[in-house]
């Protein structure tokens, strides 16, 4: 551990003399400096460095955030030359009393639950498998990480081909060789959401795996050694050592994935477009339709965006509390 080296008495004297002499020299040096430079204090220089970032933050984040909050209380279309008309809570009332919005929230919740749960299981499982080093484990880990590096639209496009009942590879792999009885993954209301979940799990389980691997590698070996000496079985070690030690990182992974799942848009648009009907219409897809796609209902879509924001903040808070408990316990 780093400890500061205590100064000896002699060193203190030298330092004192040096500083005193510097202070004594200061007025003469200042007089020699140009006037403009002397006026820039350290605080001013700091402010000057920070100012562009602050301005950028205000222009790109704070102002749009506050302005969109204002817009959410108005009737307004961004493509109209009519200024926003204040309607109070009307947009929020309409959204919360419209069954189609509740339906899209339910779809989003179902998707998030299924997808994040499976990603956690698969990601954690992969991490346990790749925990011990073996020949080629580095290469395998890298290959497993490839899906999350791809563009979601690219992923959706080729999974669409994989799911295709006429020539897709998935159905034959699952044993469905008769095209007439093969499941139509993206066209069947009972399968469409599962199809998106499968793709999301394929794409993002590596992310969970990566965080879990980091957590697993930080567990000291002596804990397992001590447990083995005490004849603790595998399940006991997993439950009492592995899981609690990985839990903080696992919860962070789950938090990130839940937030992303609630914002799910690109995979849905690329795979099903929200269909069949509105079976896979997530809140983000509905938000997109409301905000663009010929409707340009900016006021209402801003209100919906704020509702989504509140939901995500609420869920994040629950996770963070759980995270703090996991860390504390």
């Amino acid at each position: 551990m780093f400890r500061p080296h205590p100064l000896g008495a002699g060193e203190t004297q030298i330092l004192s003399r040096c500083c005193v002499s510097q202070v004594a020299l200061k007025p003469a040096q200042n007089a020699a400096q140009p006037v403009a430079r002397r006026q820039l204090s350290d605080a001013t220089i700091v402010r000057l460095f920070i100012l562009p970032t602050i301005i950028l933050l205000i222009l790109m984040n704070i102002f749009p955030l506050i302005y969109s909050l204002f817009i959410s209380f108005t009737e307004y279309s961004v493509i109209s030359d009519v200024p926003p008309v204040w309607v109070g809570l009307q947009n929020y009332q309409r959204i919360l009393s419209d069954p189609t919005f509740w339906h899209s929230f339910a779809v989003t919740g179902r998707f998030a639950l299924l997808s994040v749960a499976l990603q956690t299981v698969v990601g954690f499982g992969l991490a346990l498998l790749l925990r011990s080093k073996f020949t080629g484990s580095g290469l395998i880990t890298t290959l497993i990480l490839v899906p999350m590096m791809l563009s979601p639209i690219v992923v959706a496009t080729f999974w669409k081909l994989i799911f295709n009942p006429s020539y897709g590879i998935l159905n034959p792999l699952l044993g469905f060789t008769n095209i007439n009885t093969s499941p139509e993954w993206l066209g069947d209301p009972n399968l469409a959401l599962w199809a998106i979940v499968i793709v999301d799990v394929w794409m993002w389980s590596p992310f969970v795996m990566l965080l879990c691997l980091a957590g697993l590698s930080a567990i000291p070996d002596y804990l397992y050694e001590a447990a083995s000496i005490d004849r603790a079985n595998w399940w006991f070690q997993f439950r009492r050592i592995t899981l609690p030690q990985v839990m903080p990182l696992l919860l962070i992974a789950v938090l990130f994935r839940t937030i992303e799942a609630f914002k799910q848009f690109d995979l849905v648009m690329g795979l099903t477009g929200g269909g069949p009907g509105d079976v896979t219409e997530t809140v983000s897809v509905q938000l997109y339709q409301l905000a663009f796609q010929g409707q340009f209902n900016t006021g209402m879509s801003s209100a919906l965006a704020y509702i989504v924001l509140v939901v995500i903040i609420a869920i994040s808070n629950l996770y963070i509390r759980a995270l703090n408990r996991a860390r504390g316990g």
């Binding site: 030359d81 993206l186 066209g187 010929g294």
Partner: protein, 441 residues
């Protein structure tokens, strides 16, 4: 203070001089915005002639279809002058006119006789707003509508013809009614051979399934709402329910996996030999006539939409009209009108058609030269006399979303039945129209 006054005076003089120079300056270039596709490339070639004649450069700026409306809408919102003319979708016109983005072309088109040169349907749907008002805001530029491509080698095969006649009691030929089209689709659906009867639009994203269904819907006497904007009892009639049932049946004769299909998928199905017939916009048929793309190009025939049970015949309209930006200067507006006047000439329209553009000019459409340019031009010329569009009121986006969602749920998802679907569409549309103030509750 004296220096400041002098500076102000100098700035005022400079501003005046600049203003004078702009007013005196002739327009040397014009900008047209259009979506990124082949017709825009053809227009880009055509305008070289205008440049040669007048010295005015015309820039055709293309934006991918997916973001085209967003880009134009953003420019409208900013009252921008990035374009002088825009080739806008037929559905935009209500919004653009009511919000003042397009200039009124009525006087210009009437006084120059342009209204007489284009087919009435294209003038109505691409140029007129409100419907029947006689007020025009766009010159019909790229006519387009749905038609059909079919495999002549299958239709003209002696064995197939005999088998069809034995099964259905009438000869196999290009269908003239929707009922015949359904029979032919059923006949050619042979799952074990990987051959299916039809390819139809099913995409949910924007307007595809609605456009595909409208071909049947309108021909069965359907309308989304009447002249008083009443949708209840208009969109959901026994005839429109029958139309939807037929469209659902056709989906059963389409290749598996076409649950979210639009123009690209239609051409793919045909080129892959999976479908005996496909519906598509005429603008996408040139690929099927190209032997390097379509192995069946020599055996590909084209036909217009069949008629409904009462003889009504409609094709869902695509295509666009050219409008002039209301926010540009008067000089630029005049220069844009001069360009439109040139573009509307018959010889220019003929060249436009020869390049591959789908003219709306009556004389050109009827000319032998046009009919000979491409194998599908005869079907196109016929189709342009019976086209019909979806709503073009400013609320069209909201109405469209209702139709898309409900149609897709029934046709692709198999949810509910046709009657319940049409009832739901009518009820939801009614809610939007009431809220928008078109009808009282």
């Amino acid at each position: 203070m004296k220096k400041f006054s002098l500076l102000l005076a100098l700035m005022a003089v400079l501003a005046l001089m600049t203003g004078v120079s702009v007013r005196a300056q002739d327009v040397t270039e014009l900008t047209i915005w259009w979506a990124e596709w082949d017709p825009a490339n053809y227009l880009d070639q055509l305008v070289d002639d205008y440049t040669a004649e007048t010295g005015i450069t015309v820039n055709v700026v293309q934006t991918p279809w997916g973001s085209y409306f967003d880009r134009v809408a953003a420019e409208w919102a900013a009252q921008g002058t990035a374009f002088d003319m825009v080739v806008g979708d037929s559905q935009w016109i209500g919004q653009a006119v009511t919000q003042g983005h397009y200039i009124d072309l009525t006087e210009f088109m009437n006084s120059n006789g342009i209204t007489e040169t284009v087919t009435p349907a294209t003038l109505q749907y691409y140029g007129e707003y409100p419907a029947g008002s006689g007020s025009y805001y766009a010159y019909p530029t790229e006519g387009d509508a749905n038609g059909w491509a079919y495999r002549k080698d299958l239709f003209e095969n002696a064995d197939e013809m005999a088998a069809f006649e034995a099964a259905y009691g009438y000869p196999l030929a290009v269908p003239t009614t929707w009922a015949q089209l359904r029979d032919i689709a059923e006949f050619f659906t042979r799952e074990d051979e990987g051959l299916y009867g039809v390819g139809i639009y099913t995409q949910i994203d924007y307007d595809a399934i609605t456009m595909g269904f409208q071909n049947v819907f309108f021909s069965y006497g359907g309308d989304w709402y009447d002249e008083t904007f009443n949708a209840l009892g208009v969109a959901n009639t026994p005839d429109t329910v029958a139309a939807l049932e037929l469209y659902r049946e056709l989906y059963n004769f389409a290749p598996p996996g076409t649950n979210n299909a639009f123009f690209a998928e239609m051409n793919d199905l045909f080129i892959n030999g999976q479908a005996a017939m496909i519906m598509n916009y005429f603008a996408f048929f040139p690929a099927l006539a190209n032997p390097s793309i379509n192995p069946f190009s020599e055996q590909t025939g084209y036909f217009s939409m069949p008629e409904g049970p009462t003889g009504l015949r409609y094709a869902a309209l695509g295509g666009q009209g050219t409008s002039v930006n209301n926010y540009i200067s008067d000089e630029r507006k005049q220069a844009s009108l001069d360009f439109l006047l040139w573009f509307a000439q018959e010889d220019v329209q003929l060249k436009w058609a020869q390049l591959g553009g789908y003219t709306c000019n009556i004389a050109v459409l009827e000319s032998d030269e046009f009919l000979a340019v491409a194998p599908f031009n005869a079907a196109f010329a016929e189709t342009m006399t019976f086209v019909k569009d979806f709503s073009n009121i400013p609320e069209f986006g909201t109405l469209l979303e209702i139709v898309q969602r409900n149609l897709h749920a029934y046709v692709v998802g198999g949810e509910g039945d046709a009657a319940a679907t049409m009832d739901a569409i009518a009820a939801e549309m009614d809610g939007v129209l009431v809220e928008a103030g078109y009808i009282s509750e």
